[in-house]
Symmetry: C2
Subunit: 418 residues, 2 copies
């Protein structure tokens, strides 16, 4: 006999699938009205949400400062969550968009039209604002969502979920359009990942270990956001002032995030001119350098880089530095050691730029700009549900459009196949 | 220590990945020239290929007629294979296409550009023509392919592969762009499916059991082509003559294929008018009917349909028939029992048509046409590598475009994130 929790999770997924059929045909007007009401409800229920959040925080006294910071809500953050919902309401509805339309020789008219994916499960860290962001993006793109947030944010997530679900109920929308798995029991995720008959996509966010675990256990397709091992390559034809600005920004502006630079590559013909000033600047900002032999000749204080360093996402003020033979060596290094996330070349040589952008096998490839721009908001998508390091379905920042698929709607007048 | 075969397979995959980097930047002109030379080489080496094919056929005397038919080559079929390569040469190259381009407030110019996926493994049945089709489609879309055909076609596949690979060598193209796993050892597939560091996508074709096995074993993303349980729903507002033509074509024109109708749904208000003539016509063509109670009142000779019938892909002259309450019941039945492949409504009612096309959750949804049109050639894609019943990445017939992904190429002039 199935365990009780397993049956509960299966019922949630079944209900989510049923609700997704109704969501798929909701008009944009209705969806936008609901999103605006959700924003109002968040602000109106601030006290309840903050009280629940306080409960979560008081239970997390063993955690580090960064963890508590991500977990904590306040009036300004709830305002931000509400603003995100309003921003999502303003975005173009992707559902129903005809991507392409053509007629066939048999006289059929074929419309390749955007549709919701169906049911999307999102597993995420203890960050309560993600709860409302995912509900907003999922709802606008016509998908049912099943949310499973970090257990240490359970009270906060439940409070936010209840406030938003009441708005759906007020509008008499199908129960099951949004779902929260409100248990700290880790088995819940195991059960969820088996339900490929009801759930169409799993998006795990958070640490690499969690993502690997989900991939191993899941019978459902997974879109992954693995590490961000991002590079800036300073070409022989680089404007070295620009290169210094870009490298410094890519490493130091916010070192803890996935689009920060972890590895800097420098063409050997400019290394002697570029590295002394650059490394001095990093040292002044307390960036630990782990360099190749050439780098350590210039900066004797630098540590020695190992192959392992070149595969490491430090998420901290640490940088690996390597001097390379040429452009081909830089491209080969990035494709071998990188994580296919975001990589940049600084150069004034159009040929080198074109080759780099074509051959580096990453979601986002930059010419003369910081890797820190890889972000749904910076890209003008309004909001993002994550950044995919996969190649299939969605790559890079994922917004509303990436939460849709398509179907072929074929209009005939009695055609049969000869 | 790893087994010898395992090391061989890993080396093939590594080499395929290295070759894919070179393939990704080949010009359309070079690719089209190679494809044309491949077509010529197939025709020029007809004797060698037919001899190898004869060897395969002579070993397969225990197999049924349909199997032998799929395995057998002759001059006309080799001509068809060559024609397919020429057709692929004429298709627009998807690689490099800028899907969308825009500027951001920070002054970046973002190009969302189509790129090859990388390395694609294709596991398929004993049909030698698939070998050259997959090589042609993979090469034109800039992907390395690793082919594993049915072991009973091994000699034929090897002959075709050698002929085509010699053309690549003549053009001095990277070794490893096309690969054939030339062993009958079933372990080869197990080894292949573990190589997620080198292979980006697996496309299994063939029986449901094979596909399920691949999905279970694979650490690599899989695009599946499961069953085709296709429906035609005859609405209360259908032109009943048109409905009879469409249903007859969908069932009888080629019953063994995935886009043939397996289940016919009829609105109860037209059942008494529509079913007698329709069922008589099916009976005359030796179609076995498995019907609901209502159907069996009209045709006492029909067998009783079980829930299992409604979930069965007969691939034969057998049809399940069900009379339904209304449009909603038809949609619910299709979403519950179908395989999300191809489903059609026959109606003159625009509202019913719109609801059906929107709510039926299938890759191809038809109004007033036979489901038999779901096919890359019929859709005007030139060729197809399969039909996806998945929702992610590619849905429905898969041509060149579906063998690509995208990357964001971001052009800056020194931008750093504030």
């Amino acid at each position: 006999m199935k365990q009780n929790l397993e049956i509960q999770i299966e019922n949630i997924a079944k209900q989510a699938q049923a609700a997704s059929r109704a969501l798929a045909v909701l008009s944009s007007t209705v969806k936008n009205t609901v999103l605006k009401d959700m924003a109002i409800a968040l602000l109106g229920n601030q006290a309840i949400i903050l009280k629940a959040n306080q409960k979560d925080i008081s239970k997390s006294h063993g955690e580090n400062k960064a963890f508590i910071d991500r977990l904590s809500l306040n009036a300004a953050r709830i305002k931000q969550m509400a603003d995100s919902l309003l921003a999502i309401a303003k975005l173009k509805d992707p559902v129903g968009e005809v991507i392409r339309a053509w007629n066939t020789v048999s006289g059929l008219s074929i419309h390749k039209a955007r549709t919701p994916i169906g049911v999307i499960a999102i597993i995420y860290e203890s960050r309560p604002n993600v709860t409302s962001d995912c509900i907003g993006l999922g709802f606008k793109s016509g998908n049912s969502v099943i949310l499973r947030g970090g257990s240490q944010a359970l009270n906060s997530n439940l409070a936010i979920f209840n406030v938003l679900n009441q708005v759906l109920q007020k509008h008499h929308l199908a129960e099951g359009a949004i779902n929260l798995i409100a248990t700290a029991n880790r088995k819940a995720v195991d059960y969820l990942l088996k339900l490929n008959n009801y759930i169409d996509l799993v998006i795990p966010r958070g640490g690499e270990e969690l993502i690997k675990k989900v991939v191993r256990a899941s019978a459902i397709p997974v879109i992954k956001h693995y590490k961000g091992i991002c590079h800036v390559y300073v070409d022989e034809a680089a404007d070295l002032n620009m290169a210094q600005n870009i490298c410094f920004n890519a490493k130091c502006q916010r070192p803890g995030v996935c689009n920060a630079m972890e590895s800097m590559l420098v063409h050997r013909d400019v290394a002697a001119r570029f590295l002394p000033g650059m490394l001095k600047k990093f040292r002044e900002s307390k960036v630990e350098i782990r360099g190749c032999a050439f780098t350590r000749k210039i900066a004797s204080w630098a540590k020695r880089a190992t192959a392992r360093d070149y595969r490491t996402e430090y998420s901290d003020l640490i940088l690996s530095v390597k001097v390379v033979e040429d452009l081909d060596a830089a491209i080969a290094h990035i494709n071998e050691y990188g994580s296919h996330h975001s990589d940049s070349i600084v150069t004034d040589n159009n040929f080198a730029a074109g080759k780099f952008l074509k051959q580096v096998d990453s979601a986002c490839v930059y010419l003369n700009a910081s890797t820190r721009f890889t972000d749904g908001n910076q890209f003008g998508m309004g909001a993002e549900i994550g950044i995919s390091t996969d190649k299939l379905h969605a790559r890079g920042p994922m917004g509303l459009e990436e939460l849709t698929t398509y179907k072929y709607m074929v209009y005939g007048s009695g055609q049969v196949r000869p």
